[in-house]
Point group: C2
Chain length 220, copies 2
């Protein structure tokens, strides 16, 4: 078995991995996990001994098949518990992440699958992130953000790239929740801020900082 700490490192490495980067850097992991680079090096060695990552000094780190499986199963747990907390216990989308950070470490295929069934196999968590299926497949939606839209284009909010309480609270205050319909009225060249209409009713002015973190599915 692996400690919570080990699991959190695997999750961080998974999050930082992408086809673009060949090997996740020590510093990036340290930043993600809020610790020192020296601590990361120590842990990487341990994970490497356990064959959960592939590691060559100074060359960055890759998850092995086994390491990736564990990371994905934790993410599946995390997102399912977030759905539970919102759908069944009536928490708001900005209140559930920290609980899920703890619940995700209770790792049992049986428990996870039953929770999944109880929730009626949700496809996305309360922030629009895709929930890996029981075989570990993740169906990411393509990465279009509100900031990619031009004047007069329309879309539906399908997710957020930033999960902070303050961001989520702000979104709610302007009705930019999952499923909200957006029409772009105007984009300011200078700072890329935009004027939008939400659900055909309210008009709001949105900074680039806000629009670039809002995942959108284009309509029309």
């Amino acid at each position: 078995m692996n400690s919570f700490t080990e699991e959190n490192y695997l999750k961080a490495i998974f999050k930082l991995s992408s086809p673009k980067v060949d090997g996740v850097s020590t510093n990036a992991i340290a930043e993600e996990i809020q610790t020192k680079a020296s601590s990361v090096t120590d842990m990487i060695k341990k994970l490497s001994d356990k064959k959960l990552v592939k590691y060559k000094k100074y060359q960055g780190v890759h998850l092995t098949k086994k390491g990736k499986e564990i990371a994905v199963s934790i993410i599946r747990n995390h997102r399912l518990w977030e759905v539970f907390l919102v759908e069944k216990l009536a928490f708001k989308w900005d209140e559930v992440h920290d609980f899920a950070e703890e619940l995700e470490h209770i790792r049992s295929k049986e428990l996870t699958n039953r929770l999944d069934a109880f929730l009626e196999f949700p496809k996305h968590d309360p922030h629009g992130d895709p929930i890996p299926d029981k075989d570990g497949n993740i169906y990411n939606h393509k990465d279009i953000t509100l900031s990619d839209l031009k004047s007069a284009e329309k879309g539906i909010v399908v997710g957020v790239k930033e999960h902070s309480k303050s961001y989520l609270n702000y979104l709610e205050s302007v009705n930019l929740v999952l499923g909200a319909e957006i029409k772009v009225n105007d984009v300011i060249d200078f700072d890329h801020s935009m004027s939008i209409t939400v659900n055909k009713k309210k008009t709001a002015n949105i900074s680039h900082q806000v629009s670039k973190n809002l995942l959108i599915k284009k309509t029309d």
Copy 2:
């Protein structure tokens, strides 16, 4: 905040405390928590520094008000999650304890109270143990066991004193689940085994080992 380890010690001390014993012994705690007496002494000192227990060398240990509050809140969590796992995720009563041992440490009054509400404020967990209310009050049922009944007396199963998988499995195989109606047909003097009728249908022979761990509410 307290570590899982500290919380488990508090729970153990609570479990071992009773009006009868003045001070829980180091050895008893070691036995309960499956560790060495020397480790217990170390931890007791730490809990004492944190004012969660009252401790005088060689004199055993008492929970303080604060320590007791924490212990009770963990037990409340544990039992509520067990209800969730059985009622909502359709686990059996012998499968839920180990999960609850982990879930109980996610300590948030808000989460616990919402879970309680979602489960419609259950009074007992799947093993018949009382669930502390949100103010920490526990309403224990009086301690009558099947072994206290005499020939021809009747009762209803309200709980179990032993929680092992093997015991719970056995009980289920002879229909001795919570709510089962029992009539004692005969008690053998030699080994205190008894012949009983369950739910007016099945007859079973029950050893003393079994009957003394089955909590009963007398009827008639």
